[in-house]
Symmetry: C2
Subunit: 331 residues, 2 copies
């Protein structure tokens, strides 16, 4: 069984010049005097990066070291550009999707792709999906919110309809999270405290918003083990069980949650065990966050610690991801 990592990111080594219409958020790459590359948005330094973000040789060498056979490449989420004019976001997206396609072309047995679309305009995003599909990408990464709107909002239905029609996959990743004013301490805490919350709200919105009821063949996955969803779900189920209004509005939430996929990027073996109980052994797969700081490397060793039967371990390491991506059964 191949080991498939669904949660890892790419950044192009460079970007086209900003369009004349754009905006103080256009991405670029700056080479600092200390020799480090820095991803910039407008004039703001966002993150120090290195060639692991774009270099196929460097990346596959690390994959070999860490026993990962296949990565599903997705954009660094800050590139998703929902806050730009649609045409500008399309330009950024095509550049990033192009990098993903190039990397796949260089190592087609090691990479598959989750691209990006300008979801601030769901109709335009739906149209762009055909471009991604015909260039061989398996799906799209989307934000846990789109300019504050949760992905379960019916506003996005035209996009999901087309995703379902094309048989593509949707990977929901934490982005610009809610509740920053609830954090006491250094700014970096937002990454640790608020990302899981926004992902949990995103998943809940796709339950209460009936996304899988409307698009039953859709395959949707959530980053970071679904974030806070596992602690919210029992209370939502309790509320649903006691409310005719909620029962009329959406289907039983626990059952829907067990149709979503989740990565295992939770940094804790007890939480991983709990998620397997809550969501099921067919719904969780590997995510490493390669090559960023909040990594969980060596997925085989992590899953070994669960002492599962081999068939279950194989599903978590690769089989579930293959089902999510609709790949031929990995051998």
């Amino acid at each position: 069984m191949s080991v498939i990592d669904i949660h890892n990111h790419v950044v192009p080594e460079g970007f086209p010049a900003a369009s004349s219409s754009c905006c103080d958020k256009w991405p670029s790459m700056k080479l600092r005097p200390d020799g480090k590359s820095v991803a910039m948005f407008g004039t703001k330094e966002f993150r120090v990066l290195d060639d692991r973000c774009w270099d196929v040789g460097r990346r596959t060498a690390d994959m070999d070291k860490e026993h990962v056979d296949v990565q599903a490449l997705s954009p660094m989420p800050e590139l998703l550009s929902y806050w730009m004019d649609v045409e500008d976001a399309l330009s950024v997206g095509r550049h990033v999707n192009g990098l993903i396609s190039d990397m796949i072309a260089k190592a087609p047995k090691r990479f598959v792709g989750l691209g990006m679309v300008p979801l601030q305009d769901p109709e335009r995003a739906a149209k762009e999906l055909s471009v991604l599909h015909s260039s061989g990408l398996s799906g799209v990464e989307i934000g846990s919110n789109i300019n504050g709107k949760p992905p379960g909002d019916p506003f996005f239905d035209p996009f999901y309809a087309e995703v379902e029609r094309l048989g593509m996959a949707v990977f929901v990743h934490a982005l610009h999270p809610v509740g920053v004013d609830r954090v006491v301490g250094p700014a970096r805490l937002v990454t640790y405290l608020n990302f899981p919350v926004d992902t949990g709200f995103a998943a809940a919105s796709m339950i209460t918003g009936r996304t899988l009821e409307k698009f039953p063949k859709l395959r949707v996955a959530f980053s970071h083990g679904g974030g806070t969803l596992a602690t919210i779900l029992p209370r939502l189920a309790m509320g649903w069980n006691g409310s005719a209004e909620l029962q009329k509005t959406f289907a039983e939430p626990t059952g829907i949650a067990r149709r979503f996929y989740y990565d295992n990027l939770v940094y804790d073996i007890e939480l991983m065990r709990h998620l397997l109980k809550v969501f099921g052994r067919s719904q969780i797969f590997v995510g490493t966050d390669y090559p960023f700081d909040a990594r969980q490397a060596f997925p085989v060793e992590f899953i070994d610690r669960l002492s599962l039967e081999k068939a279950d371990a194989d599903r978590i390491l690769g089989g579930n991801a293959a089902a999510f991506l609709n790949l031929p059964a990995a051998g």
Copy 2:
């Protein structure tokens, strides 16, 4: 061993007239034509209630039926009045604390009290604590945020200093939660989806804000099993382990989390099992939400389902709550 329920609420049967200075949020009780009592805030109907909220005989009869020996009475959280002028909030608080004292006086073996203070003014709240303490209340209920400010903000330090000095307990309850714009569906979903999130942020803020480091004898409990904290904590711990900046700012988060208390109001036996692993068997106690809709009645039967050793079950049913409230060991 007595069974002690830490999470349940009271509402007075009536309220004094609004002060001339107040405001469209003053509480009152309306008797509707259909014979039901409705708690009003200003002209807005908030919740249909009945005499279980204030009647000692009715309440103790239900406790007998549900095998609860002692309730720690706390205000319905909407009464906390942080959004009022301090003097108005003090008036409401004294009226509500008076009900709690009266109920304790009528059945001193069945009730203890968690009162309320105007925490929008921490110095004034600290001063008011002496009144609660001398009237025999064991602690205070506070909101998971105070007008948007998380309880771990150093703004509240004068209050915690006095709580610690008096040896009182702090019960943090979800209130006016963050992320309402992330919800798709009926308004009542906010109670199910956002309450746990706000409680999780509150607990995290008291870790990153060093509340227990500054006030080491403070005893703090969180409603709803700490809400989303259990799914956030491993990621926070991962971030802390990798960051010298965070290590300089606050102590190792998992260790601090295991010094807080949590109720067991999570509606799911697997989540309860997980919380016992995360927080420890000495830190979780019974909460029922009596007499409101989101109830978890029959605590003994719920804990029985865990098949714990008797000593552990007894701690969860009463011993841990006695430690939190600083009661003489219940017999």
